[in-house]
Symmetry: C2
Subunit: 337 residues, 2 copies
């Protein structure tokens, strides 16, 4: 198409039209395409009656999803990739398609529609407080949509923290949302008591999930603003999953001090976060997450490991360690009191 | 992050959030970022007063644009890539940033917001005729926004067709839009007469561009529906750039027959198109273009070379040849009467 030394418009064109990739994936999930292909390859003609959609529409959508890497095509038949089978078929226990309900929810889409203004201001252009406004309804959507995707990572975190399963333990789950992080601890440690903190309407979702997991008897809640509410005390572990990125550094330190006070001696905090390298441009997903915070919060950011280490030191914690989490863009930053 | 044999949610996450890439690119263009960096690397702090934006906003946006491949970062300073310098700085003659005004225009965004319904129907869910409705205003936006990006390809096409510059020639430019394709012929061939056909409001843009190119004395227009209007006759070359993909095969053949009749003996048609391979999944941009036609037209498609060859044969043309065009996702399919 081009001489190798000539400038190419391909990246520009791909990026201008990237929203079409999102739309195609959303349509494929809406039409149940990945679940329909879970039992084996099908052609557009074979899919049409099952999807209640036009053969022509399915042919074009399936070709596009093949180009995008979600399907493979052999002859006229389309098949799931390994990753699509794991995350996009509703028959998979790791089904993550519901994440679109949060990641493509109106408040997020609107925030990105006003991104230029957010760059000018240096913070969300949506409202004074953006997504950190008290009881913002998007966190109920988050809790309903995002739990499934976090299950493997939550089990990974419960392994990393490695409590003594034979002893009682008290776990606090900050901004629990779907509750999946704390529930993983309740399931792995049969004597653990889990306390979930979030806005009251969000806690209903966490409680439903605790009920499904059969851990209600060891599951309690604190409703309210994590910065203002009494957290309780003598926790073995405080989980802070994807919470600190919403705030500026000073507020993060303030919250870590409060966490420190709530831990028993030797207790640990586990911060789960998008953690970019010091260059702030790698790894791509963690580094790119800063933009979501610019679009949706007044002062939030994706902080580096060194950034968290410095906040933790200021709050009185030991030097932290960093741990990858399975099937996740998140890392765990773990530090002892 | 994952064992190599474990499923990864990365592609899913990247694609769900792909709309954020589009939004970031749009913000960078809106804020004139690429033009501000055209004279050399700058930090977010140095950019802030020039862009009239917050340092923090620019730091996060520039990091994101670095992750996305549009900038490089050395220390705290950001620099243009070769491709960004060529296509996204307003100081570049190949500036293509205005393409966002069409590619992100409301009718296109709306069409992708109703993509699931388009798949169900097998054609645009926006209106009965979608983008091929008579005098649809999006084609004026197209003409104003998309000309710049097509200039290198239009010069490439004028080379490929290789008319005898010493002789008079008559060129018809179908659905001329910005007029760039026909104007390239008028510039390269000093005795060529170019006739541009499009809706009347669109032709104003083509005529402005012909004036800027200094070819008005050899530039005339036909306003109206290409299928219904008299095309004239005895053309040496008929250009059909990015037009046939809006229609079903039968209508394409019908239009090619009409083209055939308008050509002089030995005259040639040059179809400029997104041309996928027979597998319909490569090359990615040409194959992916079918989805735009599904979203925006009742029956349009990206046809293969074999598809065009068969339509051309049915319309009475010789077997065609295929030609890449510089700095373009388009190919030229050329055939003689």
């Amino acid at each position: 198409m081009n001489a190798p030394d000539k400038p190419k418009p391909d990246l520009f064109f791909d990026t201008v039209t990237a929203y079409q990739k999102t739309a195609a994936l959303k349509a494929a999930i809406d039409l149940n395409l990945f679940t329909l292909l879970a039992d084996g390859p099908l052609s557009a003609k074979e899919l049409a009656p099952k999807a209640n959609a036009a053969e022509r529409g399915l042919r074009i959508l399936c070709d596009y999803m093949t180009v995008s890497g979600f399907l493979t095509k052999t002859g006229q038949r389309y098949a799931l990739t390994r990753d699509s089978a794991a995350f996009l078929s509703r028959k998979s226990p790791a089904y993550a398609g519901s994440a679109t309900e949060f990641l493509l929810s109106d408040p997020l889409i609107r925030a990105f529609n006003s991104l230029s203004e957010a760059v000018r201001r240096g913070g969300t252009a949506e409202s004074k407080e953006g997504s950190v406004a008290p009881e913002h309804p998007m966190w109920v959507t988050f809790a309903r949509a995002m739990g499934g995707m976090m299950v493997p990572a939550s089990h990974g975190l419960a392994e990393i923290i490695a409590l003594d399963a034979s002893r009682p333990a008290k776990i606090l789950d900050i901004a629990a949302g779907h509750g999946v992080w704390g529930i993983a601890f309740a399931k792995k440690y049969p004597r653990a008591q889990v306390v979930a903190l979030d806005w009251a309407p969000v806690l209903q979702v966490a409680q439903e999930n605790a009920r499904s997991a059969g851990v209600t008897d060891r599951y309690s809640v604190i409703a309210g603003d994590a910065f203002a509410t009494d957290l309780g005390s003598d926790y073995d572990t405080v989980l802070i999953p994807n919470f600190l990125h919403h705030f500026n550094r000073a507020d993060c330190v303030r919250f870590l001090k409060k966490t420190h006070a709530a831990l028993k001696p030797g207790g640990r905090v586990a911060i789960v976060e998008f953690v970019p390298n010091p260059d702030r441009i790698t790894p791509p997903q963690a580094a790119g997450f800063s933009l979501v915070m610019l679009a949706t919060t007044p002062e939030g950011d994706a902080y580096t490991f060194e950034g968290y280490a410095s906040m933790l030191a200021e709050a009185g914690f030991q030097p932290p360690s960093s741990h990858p989490l399975p099937a996740s863009m998140n890392q765990a930053v773990v530090s002892a009191k």
